[in-house]
């Protein structure tokens, strides 16, 4: 990850970021409205670029085919809707199902990308900082298991190399391979469990769980965070009220509702765009502050 991009969000309290992203994910998941989905998707892509930098381009190669497959699969399997476009094997491919496929896969993709942003910004230390205060043990289980997964993978290859010098995996037959894998798996489990208990003993020797324990990273809620959170809360509550008042009702079947632009609905779009743009604004603001402070040196 690019350090400068990471730096832009380092100024924010993890709670601020977590609440913002949870809000984005919840709204992204429950509102099936084409314009909302488009807004959510657009800002998710932009923030992903800020967070992941150029490596996001590579990830797009994975996301785009996924999007297209999900979008296309709906009209192939669902034949509801009043306007058939053409017939495939005697089954109608309808306009409504196509639109629904495009919107729903956009929704899935936007939620996936917001989760990607979450993974990028909310690094493990931040997550543990948030969870560890209130629920120290669960925080511990989460961190250790998250850490163990990549370690398992490395250890697997390590053990495999050693075992192959002892003659395992030498034959190419399926059964020989399976036999080797079972042996390897058994060794891996024993090793992992022993090292886990050793970690635990080392931790309790160093006083894990005692009172007055401090965290590796310390964040304080600053006035800026409060401004950010209040803005976020305002837009979130306003959108929820908007939903309750029926501003963003939308139907796909039997016919697609035309997107209307009444003042209430447009207001909702603007509010949601504002909320989605919060992290982009944050990155731009940090960049500006950085440029300004450098120009004064």
């Amino acid at each position: 990850m690019n350090t400068k991009e990471k730096f832009a969000y380092a100024a924010l309290h993890p709670l601020t970021v977590a609440l913002h992203l949870l809000g984005q994910i919840i709204l992204g998941m429950f509102i099936m409205h084409p314009v909302f989905v488009a807004i959510s998707l657009f800002f998710a892509v932009v923030v992903c670029f800020f967070v992941c930098g150029k490596s996001f381009l590579k990830e797009l190669k994975f996301y785009l085919p996924f999007y297209i497959i999900v979008a296309l699969s709906n009209p192939l399997f669902s034949h509801s809707g009043a306007t058939p476009l053409f017939f495939l094997n005697g089954k109608p491919i309808t306009y409504e199902a196509t639109i629904y496929g495009i919107v729903s896969s956009g929704m899935f993709l936007s939620v996936l990308l917001w989760c990607r942003v979450w993974n990028g910004i909310m690094t493990e230390d931040k997550l543990v900082f948030l969870v560890g205060r209130r629920l120290p043990k669960i925080g511990l289980v989460l961190t250790i298991s998250l850490r163990m997964i990549p370690r398992f993978r490395n250890k697997w290859w390590e053990i495999r190399e050693v075992q192959s010098t002892l003659g395992d995996f030498a034959e190419s037959g399926f059964i020989a391979q399976i036999k080797g894998a079972v042996k390897l798996f058994s060794a891996l489990i024993t090793h992992a469990m022993e090292s886990a208990v050793e970690t635990g003993m080392s931790m309790s020797a160093r006083g894990y769980g005692l009172k007055g324990r401090s965290s590796l990273v310390l964040y304080k809620i600053r006035p800026y965070d409060i401004v950010f959170m209040c803005g976020n809360l305002f837009t979130f509550v306003a959108i929820i009220v908007g939903i309750a008042m029926g501003f963003i009702d939308y139907q796909f079947y039997p016919t697609v509702t035309p997107v209307e632009c009444g003042s209430g609905t447009t207001g909702m779009f603007v509010l949601f765009a504002m909320q989605s743009a919060l992290l982009v604004l944050q990155a731009i603001k940090e960049e500006a502050v950085w440029k300004y402070s450098r120009s004064r040196i």
């Binding site: 669960i138 163990m148 997964i149 058994s186 208990v197």
Partner: protein, 230 residues
């Protein structure tokens, strides 16, 4: 200490008595036809809280906690490794074994945290809390009947079958709520019938993985427990 605990208990009880109806009423007024899904997701989240809180409260060994973390990592990895075979995964087997060898509470935590962690990879969604409750309960109940299941492998395998069926039935509730907006007996039956092949895969994979894993994994956990006196 006694009074403090009592006050805490009363507060948490009140929280539940207020929170659950608040979620139900709020969901109905906000999301209307999407309300059912909102309410059920929220209640799934809320029902995980007492397990987490009681796990926190209990004074226990850090070493046991770390072994639990290991089992969570293992089941996440198992889900990853077998992800190319749809629905065929060792998670349920590992969660059941966690419940049996580490206790009911650890079983619940192993189930729910495995879901939480693995869904960072497979995608979080409204299904996350549902899966957390389903897998958590499977581990919890396994922990309650641990003595019988340790003794007779047949009981363990039968429990594997039942938990596969339970998981499928439980997740079908979500399917109906998600697609339909409301709960409808006929649609639920249709969902259950249409997911019969998947249920069969669940049951089959549970039996296979329980049968394969119970000896090595169970023995290894027992060994660690004796070796370090956990």
């Amino acid at each position: 200490m006694g009074t403090e605990m009592k006050i805490k208990m009363i507060i948490s009880l009140l929280l539940f008595l207020v929170l659950v109806p608040l979620i139900a009423v709020g969901g109905y007024f906000l999301f209307r036809e999407r309300g059912y899904i909102w309410v059920s997701v929220c209640i799934a989240v809320v029902s995980c809280i007492p397990f987490f809180v009681s796990f926190e409260r209990k004074v226990s060994d850090v070493r046991k906690t770390v072994v639990l973390a290991f089992l969570v990592a293992l089941s996440v990895l198992g889900r990853l490794v077998f992800s190319y075979l749809p629905h065929f995964k060792p998670v349920t087997a590992i969660v059941i074994l966690a419940g049996i060898y580490l206790g009911a509470e650890s079983g619940f935590l192993c189930g729910s945290l495995s879901v939480l962690v693995s869904n960072f990879i497979f995608g979080q969604g409204p299904w996350t809390p549902f899966q957390m409750v389903a897998w958590g309960l499977i581990g919890f109940i396994a922990g309650i009947f641990n003595a019988v299941m340790k003794k007779h492998i047949s009981v363990l395998l039968i429990y594997g079958v039942l938990s596969g069926i339970f998981y499928s039935l439980f997740m079908d509730i979500l399917t109906v709520l998600w697609l339909d907006g409301g709960f409808n007996g006929e649609k639920y039956l249709a969902a259950v019938t249409s997911s019969l092949p998947i249920t069969a895969v669940y049951v089959f994979s549970n039996i296979i993985f329980l049968f394969v894993l119970v000896k090595p994994l169970g023995k290894k956990i027992e060994r660690i427990k004796t070796k370090y006196g956990i």
